[in-house]
Symmetry: C2
Subunit: 308 residues, 2 copies
């Protein structure tokens, strides 16, 4: 039998908070971990020292396990890995590349390595690398995504890869956590629901855009250049899609998107900013503390389990 996620990470509930670039800071992460989930710090935009401070701040706010997300396209990855190693967080999640260069070193130090994958071939590579688990993230997730939806992705991974699987993309209820357990996943990663956590540093307009969103509020840009990203289909995204489908190439569209994510996250610009979110945003109807989000998920998980 595969170890449950709670045992793998020493946490209370099988819920990892997605490491959201420039969003999941020490305040959100400590709130999630303190509530029994697994908080994951972003490292995007941080210097080595800034990441160290954030890690230490989480430690000052909770004694519970937490992790760091390493976006592998960052220039200062070696330094960020070094801080993660010396500060000994519980686990590292990785995206946008392979953690091959440093996975073994982290694992020797007792840090779990858990890459995010979106297709079977990538998962096979990660299994060969000997990582501790994978986060299988479906098309319905927010931000940079693959094109296979969570449900068919997990079923095909279960058949092809011998690795503990954590399901991500489209998880917005305790029923969905149970559903992923039915598919054989050891737990889930949740991003979108935590965007509207009280402890999340995003602005009021960004959060309101998620509360206002329905099931078809998001769209993917970048399909034509092979780098799909999911955002709320606001003015910026509709302009971008119009150009993309008119055959304008990436280089020409790029200036329009330049710093659009920073505009959304730091300036709370929900018209001309990239308001990244998953398709599950339509289920959100209020801002709540992270602990309340987690409690509600686990309550409905147990109710669904009784029913099944």
């Amino acid at each position: 039998m595969t170890k449950p996620l709670t045992e793998l990470l020493g946490i209370q509930y099988p819920i990892i908070q997605g490491g959201m670039a420039r969003i999941s800071d020490s305040t959100l992460v400590s709130a999630v971990s303190e509530a029994g989930g697994f908080g994951v710090l972003t490292s995007v935009g941080y210097t080595k020292e800034e990441l160290r401070q954030e890690i230490r701040r989480v430690k000052s706010l909770t004694e519970r396990p937490f992790g760091v997300n390493l976006m592998l396209q960052q220039d200062n990855i070696p330094e960020l890995v070094e801080v993660t190693l010396t500060e000994k967080v519980t686990a590292v999640t990785t995206g946008a590349g392979s953690p091959k260069a440093f996975a073994a070193e982290l694992q020797v130090a007792g840090i779990k390595v858990i890459p995010v994958v979106s297709q079977v071939t990538h998962a096979v590579k990660m299994a060969n690398l000997g990582v501790d688990a994978i986060i299988a993230e479906g098309y319905e997730a927010g931000g940079h995504v693959g094109l296979t939806a969570t449900l068919p992705l997990i079923q095909q991974l279960q058949k092809e890869v011998e690795l503990p699987i954590i399901a991500a993309g489209g998880i917005g209820s305790g029923e969905a956590i149970l559903a992923m357990e039915a598919l054989g996943a050891i737990g889930v990663q949740i991003g979108t629901l935590f965007l509207t956590a009280e402890e999340c540093a995003l602005g009021q307009r960004y959060k309101q855009a998620l509360i206002d969103a329905d099931d078809v509020a998001t769209a993917l840009t970048g399909l034509s250049w092979g780098l799909p990203v999911r955002n709320i289909a606001n003015e910026l995204i509709q302009d971008c899609l119009r150009e993309e489908f008119a055959g304008v190439n990436y280089e020409a569209i790029r200036p329009m998107l330049y710093e659009s994510y920073v505009r959304a996250v730091e300036q709370d610009d929900v018209e001309r900013g990239s308001v990244m979110t998953g398709q599950i945003a339509g289920i959100i109807d209020r801002i709540q503390p992270a602990a309340t989000i987690i409690e509600a998920l686990m309550a409905s998980y147990h109710e669904a389990k009784e029913r099944i």
Copy 2:
């Protein structure tokens, strides 16, 4: 409590076979129904008399319940409805429009009306119409699809609509049937798996294309003109996507796609035909009788239920 699908349709297992245009004929339908699922006849391309013959042929092959799929864009829908009424099948599934014009008449005759929907607003309209249930079909399904994946779609429907929900799109295992039950669905509709049933009239090359498919083998065309269709990303589809992303409009691309579905289904052309299938095709590795497919699904469903 909502009635289980087995009770609603008087069947043994909570599995509807998707009504696949020009594919699900009396041979496949009777095999599925005889095996305890709910077979659904296509009506696409049939005259009134042809549909009547197909219905009667199913009745001669099995005494078990089955249904008819009505694609509402067909010109002869009134005639097809009339045959369905006089032949008294158990249920009608509908796609590509609203069954408003004839739903009440069918229901008065004791025939269940079950529309396929892909977003919440459509489901709300169907609830107001008083249909018996809805099939909620996610992005990962084959053929004409919506853009919301099954997992977030079902969760949002559960919250917004009071109707029995049958989950479709991405269902390729008993574990997935249990997962949909965890989400509150009363059962599932499966299309892709039945494409490789022994009793399915498709050619060997079409079936082999599905066996060869992996998790990323399909692609959506028609995103730019608002009518997404999922096919194997063969030569035809790659040509189509190249033009679509170059800004060529639908009218200009249309000749390339003309009769491409018929080419695939009737001439077994897997290079220049539309080989429609869902993303779950990657899980298929053999041709089997429909009964074996259903038995394997239910065996793994029960195993997963023991584990949960």
